[in-house]
């Protein structure tokens, strides 16, 4: 077989394989959106789920997903920021730094179900928090920390050393230089990372089924006292999220319209991830322009 012929055949095979991949991707996204979006109505998005009859919505689950996401980011962002600053700005090249990096990598490679089980053991059982939003948020934090830390470290490393030298030469402490000069300059990258990680957190289920639980108690949206039992803000109540809901109704759901509800909920999840992805791009660019452009 001569080289020209081999080239043609190989190229054809590559095109076929890529064609199949594209077909799968299109079919996948098409299936989710086409089978799901028709079910997504305002009442579907706002009404509570129903366990036995058709017509249930995903209102509480949607709220829970967002609430958990926000709590998770509130807990994980400061820790990741501190850790990222340490790695990018203070860490010296020595065994300790290597050990830190390996540890963080190990955390990022742990299956989320393992992280969830640990959360279950420590918070639900040991600390007696029960299936609760706070247990879920902490489990999601564990799962989110390594990615966010690495992203922040990379964003900080992307800021020119000239900026650090400028701050230091003015007699600013390294800490102030980092927090007031380097971090703001790295903001586009950091924000992109936060939003992308938000997409991951939003869709995570395995870490939650044994921490935030699989039940959605009735919520009273008129009650905003975080200490009261049926308040949506109560962090000690169990909270089934959208992703957990999809898993739950597909494994043990008995309502007649389980597959429609899951199709709708899946479409909502995918659209949310899509929005997070686009949002990450947009927000990063926006902030970058705002920093560099004239007002």
């Amino acid at each position: 077989m001569n080289a020209k012929k081999a080239d043609k055949i190989a190229t054809a095979i590559i095109y076929i394989l890529v064609g199949i991949v594209v077909l799968i991707l299109v079919a996948l996204l098409g299936f989710i959106l086409i089978s799901g979006l028709p079910h997504v109505t305002w009442s579907f998005l706002t009404s509570p789920a129903s366990a036995f009859s058709a017509g249930g919505g995903i209102g509480d689950q949607l709220f829970n997903s967002f609430y958990l996401l926000i709590l998770t980011l509130i807990i994980s962002f400061p820790i990741s920021l501190g850790a990222g600053i340490y790695l990018a700005e203070y860490a010296k090249k020595n065994w300790l730094t290597d050990a830190i990096r390996i540890t963080i990598e190990v955390l990022s490679s742990l299956p989320s179900v393992v992280v969830g089980l640990f959360g279950f053991l420590l918070f639900v059982v040991q600390f007696k928090l029960g299936f609760s939003i706070i247990s879920g948020a902490i489990a999601l934090t564990f799962f989110n920390l390594p990615l966010l830390t690495r992203n922040i470290e990379n964003s900080l490393n992307g800021v020119s050393n000239l900026q650090r030298e400028a701050g230091l030469s003015l007699g600013l402490s390294r800490w102030k230089t980092v927090t007031k000069v380097v971090v703001p300059a790295a903001l586009p990258g950091i924000l992109t990372g936060i939003i992308l990680s938000a997409g991951r957190v939003f869709g995570e289920a395995a870490a939650l089924i044994f921490t935030a639980g699989q039940s959605a108690p009735m919520l009273n949206y008129a009650n905003w006292n975080p200490l009261s039992g049926d308040s949506p803000l109560n962090i000690f109540r169990p909270a089934e999220t959208l992703a957990v809901h999809i898993w739950k109704i597909n494994t043990e759901g008995i309502m007649p319209d389980a597959s429609q509800v899951s199709a709708g909920a899946s479409a909502v999840l995918v659209v949310a991830v899509l929005i997070f992805n686009l949002g990450a791009r947009f927000a990063g660019n926006y902030i970058y322009r705002k920093i560099t452009a004239s007002k």
Partner: protein, 302 residues
């Protein structure tokens, strides 16, 4: 003059700030280290309880085929079915995904030019981000009926799990491999083409060969994801803790037994401890995958 001198010798606010800042950031690091160490410690101690407290045999755990920890009088903890199931879906999905990932990545970097990449890149990023329960749901409504119709059986089983995981790891492996292909220097390509090699010869003999460590890392990364994936697999594999005889009958993986079992057992009893042993296997395997990528990363250039 003297005022300046004393000021120079006084410890400034900035230097106190710096110490505090370093302490704060170091504290965050130690928090993360603490989390990792506690995870390792708790899962290990829980996982070993099966063998030390309940005196179950270590070798039986890895070699026996019957999983029935609540059987009386003699509980049976043979984890082989789950271990085989987990490795089965992982290896098969990696084998299936590899050619597609290679083709797509090569297509993006060396064949399609800018436009193909501009379209495929965001789509692949989106797919990496799609939650696993969505893959599970599609597996349940599309893949399982498809497998049943084409390959027979119930449709639930290793084959369906493989298909679902294939689609899940494909974007991960592809996007990682694209990165390492991009790192192959431009002049490798130019030199090869200038010598009269065809595009395929260049791709096959130069580019892919130069990026083999990157490819391996990407595949192992995909395998780690497949091995640790819980819900999507659990939804399509059938959840029967028996050694799979074929690819289309119900089987189970470490993760699927864990997710179904933890809620139905009492903490501290053998049936529960046995599940933690499965979690320990899962944890150790993720460490092994981690070590493998580290090892390859050290050797590879790109």
């Amino acid at each position: 003059m003297d005022a300046v001198k004393t000021e120079l010798m006084k410890k400034s606010k900035a230097s106190r700030q710096d110490q505090r800042g370093k302490l704060i950031s170091l504290f965050c690091i130690f928090l993360i280290m603490l989390v990792v160490l506690s995870i390792l410690y708790m899962i290990t101690s829980k996982g070993l309880a099966t063998f030390f407290e309940n005196k179950m045999s270590f070798t039986d755990f890895f070699t026996k085929k019957v999983w029935n920890p609540s059987a009386k009088p003699q509980p049976l903890v043979g984890a082989l079915p789950m271990i085989v199931g987990s490795f089965g879906v992982t290896v098969l999905s990696a084998i299936l995904a590899a050619p597609f990932a290679i083709a797509t990545a090569v297509f993006m970097t060396d064949i399609s030019g800018k436009r193909g990449q501009a379209i495929l890149q965001p789509v692949i990023e989106l797919l990496v981000g799609i939650p696993s329960v969505v893959y599970g749901f599609i597996g349940l409504t599309v893949v399982v009926p498809f497998t049943r119709a084409v390959f027979g059986g119930t449709g639930f089983g290793i084959l369906s799990g493989t298909f679902v995981l294939f689609v899940m790891v494909l974007p991960t492996v592809t996007s990682m491999y694209v990165d390492s292909l991009k790192a192959v220097p431009r002049f490798y390509r130019e030199a090869s083409l200038a010598l009269g090699a065809t595009r395929w010869q260049t791709i096959y003999k130069v580019i892919i060969r130069a990026s083999i460590p990157g490819l391996l890392t990407a595949i192992i990364f995909g395998m780690a994801r497949a091995f640790g994936e819980a819900l999507a697999v659990q939804m399509v594999i059938g959840n029967a803790s028996i050694l799979p005889q074929d690819l289309v009958s119900p089987a189970s993986t470490l993760t699927s037994v864990l997710t179904t079992g933890i809620g139905n057992t009492v903490l501290g009893t053998l049936p529960n401890n046995a599940l933690w042993s499965l979690a320990l296997v899962l944890l150790l395997m993720s460490l092994v995958f981690n070590l493998l990528t580290r090892f390859i990363g050290k050797k590879g250039a790109f």
